[in-house]
């Protein structure tokens, strides 16, 4: 029946490089659509610059320049004052995908995981055929000028030309120039200008300049002198890992026993906690062996209530045996840990109470900085911000929410500025938890009657080692309940502040208006009463005026009469 032998079919079996794969699937990296592709390029370059500056403790000065070379053909130049790139890393940084300093670490990060800038280089190369020109110096004697291309087949960076220049002034930083085609510069809400504006708001410590294709210089000046601390690597929290993570970590660790491995490589696991884990694993083994379903269910419930010791005791001798077996696991070499044992430990994690994960690795922008950013860039009449304390979603993944609100002044119309790890999100607003949380708030309660027309901007930044994006485009955050609620709570708090501000503003005016309201009816009432009672109007009127006078001497009388 078979027309050809299997062997023949496999003659053509070949292995593709990563770069080749992404060359064919550039959309996966954000290169989709002419406008969005341009924004992605700038995002990658600017993120690289900001990250580098922050890690080196330098106040960033980033210059973005866009030259139009032809129809849908541009040169993009991004220059920073960062630490520069050592000569031997240039080809790796710009030419090799999946290489980088962050991708493999549990760390809050701005960008794609190890594809970012090399993806940009590849996109430039794919569309214009040109190498990316990199000029960099670490501040030493020389400036290196290198043209980098990607050997797509091998996934390797190739420096096709390199020139070394003296560096008499001690310049330090990196400048990249890339030529791209098939992109379009538009000043829309999804274009480079808007992206940089939002970046400037969330990074008030950065000075950002943009030169548009028509030569127009736009400066987003620095609003704060405080360099954010670079994010720290965090040990994973027991509730934030799945079996596969635990298993793979155990294979890799250099610790000598499972116990040391658990204590040393997870947060919130102490020696004591390991004893607790042992008990829970033992208890779970025992309960799993119970045949009667009803009883089993009861035991699980009791375990969830923390009655682990009583349960173990109830199994008598078998309980002790099991406990000893499990204790032995903890003394094993981690690489000997089986998948099943790892599963058991992960299952036990679900029953044990842990301290919330450490949040030292999270780097919020900070209330003061957000306010500086908003004031600096938007010039509103009123601004307020709130950084909530860190929380956890899905049991073990720390995150933190920052919100802010700017009102009035130069603002016109309503906008939501969305960020994840202080990176602006420009696309897919509809499916983003930030959007739905902002829309779910009843703004009327805070004196914002018509949201769409309100001169108001709402800022939301979600920070996490692992931001739950809805899709690979990383442009919208999934609706995790805990995140949704945190955003809402934070918004309601700043909503109350806004209300207070707006009320105070109108308070005095209101008092005068109320008095006038009563006074204007006096004449009508007196006239009517004069007809009803047949007393002269002039006699009736003063009584009413006196009454009003008295009322506004003691201004809170009205409340006692039950005015709503």
């Amino acid at each position: 029946m078979a027309k050809s032998e299997a062997k023949e079919l496999f003659k053509e079996f070949k292995i593709q490089s990563v770069s080749e794969f992404f060359r064919r699937n550039a959309a996966m990296l954000g290169y989709t659509g002419k406008v969005r592709s341009f924004t992605t390029l700038i995002h990658e370059a600017v993120t690289n610059a900001l990250d580098a500056c922050e890690e080196a403790g330098i106040l960033p000065y980033v210059k973005v320049e866009i030259e139009e070379l032809g129809k849908e053909h541009y040169k993009l130049i991004v220059e920073d004052n960062g630490p520069g790139i050592p000569e031997k890393f240039i080809s790796h940084v710009f030419g090799k995908m999946l290489a980088g300093t962050k991708a493999h670490r549990n760390i809050q990060s701005r960008g794609q995981q190890g594809i970012g800038i090399s993806g940009a280089v590849m996109f430039a190369q794919m569309t214009s055929g040109k190498a990316t020109r990199v000029i960099t110096s670490t501040g030493g004697d020389e400036i290196i000028e290198a043209w980098v291309m990607i050997d797509v087949e091998k996934n390797e960076g190739k420096v096709v030309k390199k020139i070394k220049h003296p560096n008499p002034t001690g310049w330090r930083g990196t400048r990249i120039e890339m030529e791209v085609k098939d992109v379009r510069y538009i000043r829309s809400k999804q274009g480079p200008y808007w992206y940089l504006k939002l970046t400037a708001i969330a990074n008030p410590h950065a000075h950002i300049e943009l030169i548009e294709p028509d030569g127009k210089l736009i400066v987003f000046p620095r609003g704060s002198e405080e360099i954010p601390k670079p994010p720290e690597e965090m040990k994973p929290h027991p509730r934030g890992v799945i079996t596969d993570d635990l298993f793979r970590m155990a294979k890799k660790t250099r610790r000598s026993t499972v116990k040391r491995f658990l204590v040393g490589e997870f947060s919130r696991i102490s020696s004591q906690k390991v004893s607790e884990i042992v008990k829970y694993v033992a208890a779970l083994r025992l309960i799993n062996g119970v045949e009667e379903e009803q009883k089993k269910k009861q035991l699980y419930e009791r375990l969830a209530n923390g009655e682990v010791d009583i349960i173990l005791k109830s199994f008598g001798k078998r309980g002790k045996q099991t406990l000893r077996q499990v204790e032995k696991i903890m003394e094993k070499e981690p690489s000997k840990l089986t998948w099943h044992e790892a599963e058991e430990i992960i299952e036990a994690f679900k029953y044990i109470k842990f301290l919330a994960p450490p949040t030292s690795g999270l780097r919020p922008i900070g209330e003061e900085n957000i306010e500086k950013g908003l004031t600096n860039i938007l010039n509103p009449e009123f601004v307020t911000s709130l950084t909530r304390s860190p929380k956890v979603y899905r049991g073990g993944i720390p995150f933190q929410v920052e919100v802010a609100l700017a009102f009035g002044g130069s603002l016109s119309g309503f906008d939501i500025l969305r960020y994840a790890n202080r990176v602006p999100l420009l696309f897919d607003a509809g499916s983003c938890v930030t959007t739905s949380a902002v829309r779910s708030v009843d703004w009327k309660r805070y004196k914002v009657d018509n949201l769409e027309d309100a001169p108001m901007v709402v800022f939301v930044n979600v920070i996490s080692v692992h931001v739950p994006y809805t899709s690979t485009g990383k442009q919208s955050i999934a609706s995790e309940e805990e995140i949704y609620e945190e955003i809402r709570l934070a918004l309601m708090e700043i909503g109350r502040r806004l209300k207070k501000y707006l009320s105070g503003k109108h308070r005095k005016l209101h008092q005068v208006k109320r008095r006038r309201t009563l006074e204007k009816y006096v004449d009508e009432v007196a006239e009517a009463l004069s007809i009803l009672t047949e007393k002269p109007k002039e006699e009736i009127k003063p009584y009413f005026l006196g009454l009003i006078e008295k009322k506004f001497e003691a201004p809170e009388v009205e409340a006692a009469e039950g005015e709503a």
């Binding site: 204007k520 006096v522 004449d523 009508e524 009517a528 009803l532 009672t533 008295k550 009469e561």
Partner: protein, 382 residues
């Protein structure tokens, strides 16, 4: 058995001076308070369903005793306070001068700017209408007694003689037109009543049919055409004819929730006008048709119409006619075997039947057979 005129139970007693005194009372009470430095107020019985109840004894809807207090020194009340005294003063002049005004005229007459501002005393007729209703409830007098005339609708035909001012006329001597019932009937005197009962008819077409068939003459009846929902004038007229002249009242409407609602209003008053039940309602009225039983009895299956809306047992239901019927089943005066049966049957059959559907038999059928038989046999619903 035949329906005959009964003994009168009320005497006509409208006294304009009493109305004026009550209006002045409001004025004096306010003036007194303000002289003492107190925040003056007007107490107005609350409107709406939460402040009415069905009085089993009198068998009418009555107003409860919830009141709402309207202060002058209260930003949210002040305008209504002003409007109330304004209208009170206007009505005092109206009644004093023996003039009548429509609701619309009362609105325009009192609309003007307030103390040099752009604000008007009344921005919309809804506001002045509400104040007039408030005064009715507060003083316990009909708006007609305050010389505010309601919209007029309806006419009568039959052998009764009415004296209206200097005019005196017999309403069976006016050709096919009949006599148009004015908005206010307080001033009418009934000088001669030569009929045995009054037949209240929902549609003008049916009333005209009966007139053409000489039903009033043959059956010795007065026809009162309501032309839809009975106007206040017509309801007051019915009330007066029943209580002052002892005329039995028999109502003839379409067999549908709207027709039964017309009957219900004539008989018991509406919730909106609960405070007027004593003067507008006629609980002793009876109902001749159309009933659901008529459909089969007279073979009218072909000329029924479908009820509108979604039945209660269907998804989304009940709505429309069905919902109204279910509401009517909750009316205290429909809480009896006969009406519950009719209303249930309507829901079950899902149809309505109009008065004019009787024309399907023949034009004269309604006048020669349907009504005479049913009334003679007292096949009437309570």
């Amino acid at each position: 058995m035949t329906i005959k005129r009964e003994k009168p139970r009320e005497k006509f007693g409208y006294d304009p001076q009493k109305v004026i005194k009550k209006l002045e009372g409001i004025g004096y009470q306010i003036l007194e308070a303000v002289k003492q430095g107190k925040n003056p107020h007007i107490d107005v019985p609350m409107r709406g369903i939460s402040n009415v109840y069905y009085d089993e004894a009198t068998k009418t809807i009555q107003m409860g005793d919830k009141i709402s207090r309207r202060y002058f020194l209260h930003v949210a009340h002040a305008k209504k306070f002003m409007q109330t005294v304004l209208i009170a003063a206007y009505i005092k002049r109206l009644v004093g001068e023996m003039k009548h005004a429509s609701l619309r005229e009362a609105y325009y007459a009192n609309k003007h700017s307030v103390g040099g501002t752009k604000e008007n005393t009344f921005e919309d007729q809804i506001e002045s209408n509400a104040i007039i209703e408030d005064l009715e409830r507060t003083l316990g007098v009909l708006r007609e007694e305050m010389h505010i005339t309601a919209d007029r609708r309806g006419y009568i035909y039959g052998d009764i003689t009415i004296k209206d001012g200097e005019d005196e006329f017999n309403t069976s001597k006016l050709g096919m037109g009949g006599w148009a019932v004015p908005g206010t009937v307080e001033h009418l005197k009934f000088t001669q009543i030569n009929v045995d009962y009054a037949l209240v008819v929902e549609t003008a077409a049916m009333a005209d049919r009966l007139i053409e068939e000489k039903f009033p003459k043959k059956e010795n009846a007065l026809i009162i055409a309501t032309q839809g929902q009975a106007s206040r004038g017509v309801r007051r007229l019915i009330h007066r004819l029943h209580y002052e002249e002892g005329l039995p009242i028999i109502v003839f409407t379409d067999g549908d929730p709207y027709g039964w609602y017309i009957y219900s209003t004539i008989k018991q008053g509406s919730i909106n006008l609960a405070y007027l039940s004593d003067k507008l309602a006629t609980p002793e009225a009876k109902f001749v048709g159309m009933t659901m039983d008529d459909i089969e009895r007279y073979g009218l299956q072909r000329v029924t119409e479908k009820l509108k809306g979604i039945p209660p047992n269907k998804k989304g239901g009940p709505t429309g006619d069905y919902k109204r019927i279910l509401e009517e089943m909750e009316y205290p005066w429909f809480k009896n075997r006969e009406w519950q049966r009719q209303l249930k049957m309507a829901i079950k059959l899902g149809v309505r039947i109009e008065q004019q559907a009787l024309a399907h038999k023949s034009l004269e059928f309604v006048a020669k057979k349907y009504l005479p038989e049913k009334i003679a046999n007292e096949e009437l619903l309570p």
